[in-house]
C-alpha cells in the first residue's frame, strides 16, 4: 500500500471546479513531481492533501487513514507537512522562531538536534538564526519554509513551487538540498512549474492540465517527452 493514495478528488473554489478528478499515489521514500502550467491544479492538489482546501468528493488516504475531511492542523500531526506556495514564512518572526513553529505539535525534546539538522542542510539559515524572516531574500525565505516544514518531522513533505521567484543559482542549491532530504528518507511530493530541476530530483512525475492528470511516467521519460515541452511553450 502506498503511503499516500489520492483517488478521484474533486475540489472546488466557490462553484468553480479546480480539480476534476485527480488520482495519484506516492510510495514510501519516493520523490514525486507534479508539473503543469499555471492553473492546472497543482497547488490545489497539495492544498487538498494538507487540508487547506478539502475536496468535495473523492478520497485521500495517508498511511492507511482517510484524511479527506481532516482539518489541516490535525493532518500535520499525522505526518504531512507542507512548504506552501509563496513561502508564507512568518515575516516578523526570527528564523529560529519560524523553525520552532514548524515543530509546534511535537512534544519530544529532540528539537535542538533537528534544528541543527536543518541548519546543516541550509547553512545560510544558521547565519541568520536571529534575523527576522521578512528581511531575508526570497531564496533564503524558501529555505526557511522548507526547513520549517522539516521541523515537523514529516513522513511526507509537500513542497509547492520551491523555485518560484528565486534566482537561478539558488534554485540549484535548493534542489540539491531537496534531493538530499529525500535521500535521508523523507518522502516528497513536489509541485513545480519549472519542470527540469524537479524532474531531475524525482523518480516519477504527473503532468496536470486543467484539473486532471494528463499523463504520468518516470521522470527521465517525462523529461524527454515532447508533449511536456509543448504543455509549457505551446506547439
Amino acid at each position: 500500500m502506498a503511503l499516500l493514495e489520492v483517488s478521484d478528488i474533486h475540489t472546488f473554489y466557490g462553484n468553480i471546479e479546480a480539480l476534476k478528478g485527480i488520482s495519484l499515489e506516492v510510495e514510501e521514500g519516493e520523490c514525486v513531481t507534479l508539473i503543469g502550467s499555471n492553473g492546472a491544479g497543482k497547488s490545489t492538489t497539495l492544498r487538498s492533501i494538507s487540508g487547506l482546501s478539502p475536496p468535495r468528493a473523492g478520497s485521500i488516504r495517508f498511511d492507511g487513514d482517510e484524511i479527506g475531511a481532516t482539518p489541516p492542523q490535525e493532518i500535520v500531526g499525522k505526518g504531512i507537512s507542507q512548504s506552501p506556495e509563496g513561502r508564507h514564512v512568518f515575516q516578523r518572526m526570527t528564523v529560529r522562531e519560524n523553525l520552532e513553529l514548524g515543530a509546534y505539535l511535537r512534544k519530544d525534546s529532540r528539537l535542538n538536534g533537528d534544528m541543527e539538522r536543518v541548519f546543516e542542510l541550509f547553512p545560510r539559515l544558521k547565519e541568520r538564526e536571529r534575523q527576522k524572516a521578512g528581511t531575508m531574500s526570497g531564496g533564503e525565505q524558501q529555505m526557511l519554509a522548507i526547513g520549517r516544514a522539516l521541523m515537523a518531522e514529516p513522513k511526507l513533505l509537500l513542497l509547492d513551487e520551491p523555485s518560484m521567484g528565486i534566482a537561478p543559482i539558488l534554485v540549484e542549491r535548493i534542489y540539491e538540498t531537496i534531493a538530499e532530504i529525500n535521500r535521508r528518507g523523507t518522502t516528497i511530493l513536489l509541485v513545480e512549474q519549472s519542470a527540469t530541476f524537479a524532474l531531475d530530483v524525482s523518480s516519477r512525475g504527473y503532468v496536470l492540465e486543467t484539473g486532471t492528470v494528463r499523463l504520468t511516467d518516470r521522470s527521465d521519460a517525462l523529461l524527454e517527452n515532447p508533449e511536456v515541452q509543448r504543455a509549457y511553450l505551446g506547439a
Partner: protein, 385 residues
C-alpha cells in the same frame, strides 16, 4: 424581452404594495382620538422610517457602515432651532426675521422661517455636513469608516450638548442641555397652522407624505445608474473603480443623500416635538436607527420600513406597556425601559447571528450573506496566487 416585462411586473407590484401600505397608514390615525398618544408615537415612528430609509442608502445600498447617523438628526433639528424659534433673539434689532409664518409668530423676535424653507435649509446643511464628514472618511477601510463616523457623531453630539458654550459673537450653537423651546409649529401653504393642542393628525399626514417621498426616492435611486454603482462598490471596490465608477464621488453621494434624509426627519421632529434639546443626540440613537435597518434587512426598502415600524412598536409599546408590566408583575425590581438599548443591542446580535439578511431580505444581500457571493473571488486567488 422577458426581463423588461419582469421589471414592469415588479414595478406594478411595488406600486400596488405602496398604494396599499399608504392607504392603510392614511386611515390609521382616524381610528384614534385626534390627540391620542398612539398617533403621537406613530408620528415619531414615521419620522424614524424616513431616517432608517436614509441610513439604508448609506449602509444598505453603498455598504458603508455609518455609526454616527445621529449627527444628521442633530443638524436637522438644530436647523429648526436656529430658524424657527427665538434662539437668535437679537437679530434685526430684536424685531426678528420672518418669512411665510403666521401672524402671531411674525410678532416674535428671532428668525422664523416657514417650515418648508427650513426643510430646504436642513437638506442643505445636512447634505454639506454629510459630505464634509464623508470626504476624509471614505478612503478608509470599512471598519475604520464606522469608527470615524461614530467619532464625528459624538463630536457633533457634544457640540449640541454644550452648544451654549460655543458662541460666535453673542449667538450660541445651541442652548446646551436647556432645550431651544418653543419651536414654531409647522405651517404649510393653504393650510391652517398646525395646532397640537387640538389635533395632531396633520403632523401625521405630513410625516406620511415625507415617508412616501422618501420611499419614492429610495426606489428610484435603487433602480438607477447610481444605484448600480453603489452595489458595484459594495461588492467589489477594485472592480468598480476599474469599470469607471469614481469611488469617492459615488460614495459621497450616498453619504449626502443619507444625511439629507436624516436632516429632513430631524427638521420634522424638531418642529413636532416643539423643542430642540442639545442633550438628546447620543450614540444610542444611531444604533436605534441602525437596528431598524438591520432588523428589516440591509438594502431592502420594504424590509427597512418594516424594521422601522417594528423597532418603533417595540420602543413605544412592547417595552413600556408590555414588558414593563411583566417586570413589575414578576417584581423584578427594574423596568425594561431602563434597558431598552440593551434590547436593541440584543436584536442586533440575534439578527446578525441567526438571520443576517433581516426580516424581509433583499435578494442581493441574501446571496452575499449566505457566503455564496464573494467566496469564489477569494478562493480563485489561491489557484494561482
Amino acid at each position: 424581452m422577458s426581463a423588461l416585462r419582469e421589471l414592469g411586473r415588479r414595478r406594478y407590484a411595488n406600486l400596488a404594495i405602496a398604494a396599499l401600505v399608504l392607504g392603510i397608514a392614511a386611515v390609521f390615525p382616524l381610528l384614534f382620538d385626534p390627540i391620542s398618544g398612539t398617533v403621537g408615537d406613530a408620528i415619531k415612528a414615521l419620522a424614524f422610517v424616513v431616517m432608517a430609509l436614509g441610513l439604508n442608502v448609506v449602509v444598505g445600498f453603498a455598504g458603508l457602515l455609518d455609526l454616527g447617523y445621529v449627527a444628521f438628526y442633530a443638524f436637522g433639528a438644530l436647523t429648526v432651532g436656529w430658524f424657527a424659534s427665538d434662539h437668535f433673539s437679537s437679530v434685526n434689532a430684536e424685531a426678528g426675521i420672518h418669512l411665510g409664518v403666521s401672524e402671531f409668530i411674525s410678532s416674535l423676535p428671532g428668525i422664523h422661517l416657514n417650515w418648508l424653507l427650513i426643510v430646504v435649509a436642513a437638506v442643505i446643511v445636512t447634505g454639506i455636513a454629510g459630505m464634509l464628514i464623508g470626504l476624509p472618511t471614505l478612503r478608509l477601510r470599512g471598519d475604520y469608516i464606522a469608527i470615524v463616523t461614530l467619532a464625528f457623531g459624538e463630536i457633533i453630539g457634544r457640540f449640541a450638548a454644550n452648544g451654549d458654550q460655543v458662541k460666535i459673537g453673542e449667538y450660541a450653537f445651541s442652548n446646551g442641555r436647556q432645550a431651544i423651546s418653543p419651536t414654531d409649529p409647522i405651517k404649510l401653504p393653504f393650510f391652517q397652522e398646525f395646532d397640537q393642542a387640538f389635533n395632531i393628525r396633520p403632523y401625521y399626514y405630513v410625516a406620511l407624505a415625507l415617508c412616501a417621498i422618501t420611499l419614492f426616492v429610495n426606489f428610484r435611486l435603487r433602480d438607477s445608474r447610481l444605484g448600480r454603482a453603489w452595489v458595484a462598490i459594495r461588492e467589489d471596490e477594485v472592480a468598480a473603480a476599474s469599470m469607471g465608477v469614481p469611488l469617492v464621488k459615488t460614495k459621497l453621494l450616498a453619504y449626502g443623500i443619507g444625511a439629507a434624509l436624516g436632516g429632513i426627519a430631524g427638521a420634522f421632529l424638531g418642529a413636532y416635538l416643539n423643542s430642540v434639546n442639545g442633550g438628546q443626540f447620543q450614540f444610542g440613537f444611531s444604533i436605534f436607527i441602525l437596528a431598524m435597518v438591520i432588523l428589516g434587512g440591509l438594502g431592502s426598502i420594504w424590509g427597512v420600513v418594516i424594521g422601522a415600524v417594528v423597532v418603533s412598536v417595540i420602543n413605544y409599546y412592547v417595552i413600556p406597556d408590555l414588558l414593563d408590566r411583566v417586570a413589575t408583575d414578576l417584581d423584578l425590581g427594574f423596568t425594561v425601559s431602563q434597558i431598552s438599548f440593551g434590547v436593541f443591542g440584543f436584536l442586533l446580535v440575534v439578527m446578525m447571528v441567526l438571520r443576517p439578511e433581516g426580516i424581509l431580505p433583499e435578494r442581493r444581500r441574501k446571496l452575499e450573506l449566505s457566503g455564496e457571493a464573494g467566496s469564489a473571488d477569494d478562493a480563485l486567488v489561491e489557484v494561482r496566487a
